[in-house]
């Protein structure tokens, strides 16, 4: 603990101002539930830095450890090993009520015996702020989440979306350094969820508070985040901006979890500083980008996003060829499910235009063209 504090303080000095220090740092955090052979490792030596004023998302399937990491930052759990730093200060050992961090709970956890205003003012009251300040801050928060008209309502008389807004206002009112959001949109219907996604992003910009958002919804993560951390099995697999995560997935799990992907086995034939070339099963050679890590020539797995491929009837010169098995119309797009030689599945996605006739039929043997720079080699 003392060591972690020294490191934090050193980091603060080095950067001169607090503004340059990471908002939250997890330093080699391990969390085990239970002990001995029955112990479950929820987080396995996780290290990540979350910047100031960032909309940071922890993305992963249920049980991947994302909520545990959030609860460690909030203080509901204590790390088994490692420490949590808030602006360079170790806080891993502090109880939740001593951390300037607030949470929006998945269940909202609004106090049912209080009105909307009393819920929002609770944190400020507990901090011992004078009555007048609490009242004016509550007013401001009510305006921020557009709930002025319902200030005197009891929270059990509110709809799900309204409760969501109150939970948000309650967590923002004490001006936390970091706002933690634990799948707050999962209980809302699709339309409301989309609205709240935009509203949350807007709120984050307006308040300038660092948001750490937990979700299992990849689309939600891509829509809102400045950076995303993809988690599985208690580990962080990749951290980066949404575009990077989507276009340059690091491994099979990330590529598979975010969006639809085609996996192919290929042979890495040459390496350069920025990328290399692989030989596809069809015998054609294409330029590729590489995930972080060490690579040597030989067999690798590559991914190609369905929208980065195009179908054509002229199949002699194309990178790949396949037999069309299925055509799935989904409104905005059409998905073409093909089989490559060797029975490898491959999906091509085309955006639909009005008045276009379907020009392919099941059983057609077609050529597949790949856009430039669309092939990514995975770390295996």
């Amino acid at each position: 603990m003392a060591k972690a504090k020294a490191i934090g303080a050193a980091a603060a000095r080095q950067h001169g101002s607090v503004g340059d220090v990471a908002a939250v740092t997890a330093a080699n955090v391990t969390k085990t539930f239970g002990s001995g052979d029955d112990g479950v490792v929820a987080l396995d030596d996780v290290s990540v830095s979350i910047r100031q004023n960032e909309f940071f998302t922890l993305l992963g399937p249920s049980g991947c450890g994302k909520t545990t990491l959030l609860r460690l930052i909030a203080g509901f759990e204590l790390p088994t090993q490692g420490d949590i730093l808030l602006e360079g200060e170790p806080i891993g050992h502090l109880p939740p009520y001593q951390r300037p961090v607030n949470t929006v709970f998945q269940s909202y956890a609004l106090f049912p015996h209080m009105t909307v205003s009393e819920n929002i003012g609770f944190g400020l009251q507990m901090l011992g702020k004078p009555q007048a300040e609490v009242a004016s801050e509550v007013e401001r928060m009510l305006a921020l989440v557009r709930m002025e008209a319902l200030a005197k309502r009891r929270v059990d008389q509110l709809s799900g979306g309204q409760q969501q807004r109150v939970a948000l206002a309650r967590a923002l009112a004490p001006h936390p350094k970091v706002l933690l959001l634990d799948e707050p949109l999962s209980a809302l219907d699709l339309k409301l969820r989309k609205e709240m996604q935009i509203e949350l992003k807007h709120l984050q910009g307006e308040t300038g508070i660092t948001f750490i958002f937990v979700t299992h919804d990849q689309e939600e993560a891509l829509t809102m985040s400045d950076r995303v951390a993809v988690m599985d099995n208690g580990k962080i697999l990749q951290v980066g901006p949404p575009r990077e995560i989507y276009d340059h997935p690091a491994d099979r799990f990330v590529a598979n979890f975010i969006g639809e992907t085609n996996f192919l086995t290929a042979e890495l034939t040459s390496l350069s500083k920025s990328g290399g070339r692989v030989k596809l099963p069809s015998g054609k050679t294409v330029a590729v980008t590489l995930a972080d890590g060490e690579f040597s020539e030989g067999q690798v797995t590559v991914v190609i996003r369905p929208e980065h491929a195009r179908l054509t009837k002229a199949k002699s010169k194309t990178t790949l060829t396949g037999v069309l098995r299925n055509i799935v119309y989904i409104g905005t797009d059409t998905h073409y499910h093909l089989r490559l030689p060797g029975d490898t599945p491959f999906i091509v996605r085309t955006q639909n235009q009005r008045d276009t006739q379907e020009s392919y039929q099941q059983g057609d043997e077609l050529g597949i063209e790949i856009s430039a720079n669309a092939v990514q080699v995975l770390r295996d």
């Binding site: 909030a74 203080g75 509901f76 109880p95 939740p96 009520y97 961090v101 607030n102 949470t103 709970f105 269940s107 956890a109 609004l110 106090f111 049912p112 015996h113 209080m114 009105t115 009393e118 609770f122 944190g123 507990m126 901090l127 009891r154 309650r170 967590a171 004490p174």
Partner: protein, 321 residues
């Protein structure tokens, strides 16, 4: 705030009445059906509670018979003897000190019993409510064990523990911690301990019922919003457990006030409570009108105490919203 809510509620209620007369008749028919369902209970209550009460009310205004019973002649002595006594030599009225002190002891011990039962009962209920679902029923089962044995036997067991030659005193004497037996039996303290023991489950069960539905994520939310453990208890857990606390307190207070067996055995002849005083009038005292008047006084005290308590609770509710 609650007054404001009530007027709003009345207002909308009136509007609804005007709006739907047909809905009103349908509702009335339903109410009639529901009233029929309660008829058996109402009949039992009338025969066994209201009827005897009416008889007692009449008795309290009659003259006492020389060998018990009553003589049919109007008299205010029953009621005046509740707080006053007539000197047997010169017929002057003076305040009945003995009665006053019994009233006071009953009230004091009942309030104390309720408070102590709450202090012991709340943590117990909280503990049970926070157990995993599987073990909860076992704990509840343990709470009900005292009910398996007759109250008289359980009280005699307490006597056996606390009397001068009982378990506690014998142990303390043999360890040399005291030189002579410590008088516990036949004190107010003994009565209070006995009543707390007897009525504790009546406090635990309603509080448990209200805690069982409690969403413990609210506690986390409280901690998250800078509330310390004490503040979470005061501002979140207690207000939400209040229905259980109110019910438990009422369930303990009322039987305590009229308790008979416990004060009789643990308090002895000197430390009487209201129940014993009433019994005395119908027995050795041979003053049925006084006993009847005392019974009604007890009833009035209970009603007054409940009104004050529920009003007080309602008021603090208004503060928190």
């Amino acid at each position: 705030m609650s007054a404001h809510d009530q007027t709003v509620g009345l207002d909308t209620g009136l509007k609804k009445d005007q709006a739907g007369a047909t809905a009103e008749t349908a509702r009335r028919a339903e109410v009639r059906g529901n009233v029929l369902l309660t008829a058996p209970a109402l009949i039992v209550l009338f025969c066994c509670a209201s009827g005897p009460l009416l008889i007692m009310l009449v008795y309290s205004f009659l003259t006492a018979g020389d060998y018990g019973g009553i003589i049919w002649g109007l008299s205010g002595d029953g009621w005046s003897n509740v707080f006053m006594q007539r000197d047997i030599f010169d017929d002057t009225l003076s305040i009945a000190d003995a009665h006053i002190s019994i009233f006071w002891r009953s009230l004091k011990l009942s309030v104390l019993t309720t408070v102590v039962a709450l202090i012991f009962g709340f943590p117990t209920a909280y503990f049970i409510a926070t157990r995993p679902l599987k073990t909860r029923n076992l704990w509840l089962f343990l709470i009900t064990i005292p009910f398996w044995t007759n109250l008289l036997i359980r009280t005699f067991a307490i006597v056996e523990v606390i009397r001068n030659q009982g378990v506690i005193n014998t142990a303390l004497l043999s360890f040399g911690l005291i030189d002579e037996p410590y008088q516990i039996l036949f004190t107010d303290f003994a009565i209070m301990v006995g009543m707390t023991y007897v009525y504790l489950p009546l406090m635990v069960l309603p509080i448990y019922a209200s805690m069982e539905k409690f969403d413990f994520r609210l506690v986390e939310a409280g901690y998250d919003l800078y509330a310390t453990k004490m503040k979470v208890l005061r501002r979140i857990i207690l207000p939400l457990a209040k229905p259980g606390i109110v019910a438990g307190s009422i369930l303990v207070f009322i039987p305590s006030l009229g308790a008979y067996v416990t004060p009789r055995l643990l308090g002895g002849g000197k430390n009487m409570m209201l129940g014993n005083l009433i019994e005395l009038q119908f027995g050795q005292g041979r003053n049925w009108p006084l006993g009847a008047a005392l019974s009604f006084t007890l009833l009035l005290i209970v009603m007054a105490a409940l009104i004050i308590y529920v009003r007080g609770v309602g008021k603090s509710d208004g503060q928190h919203g």
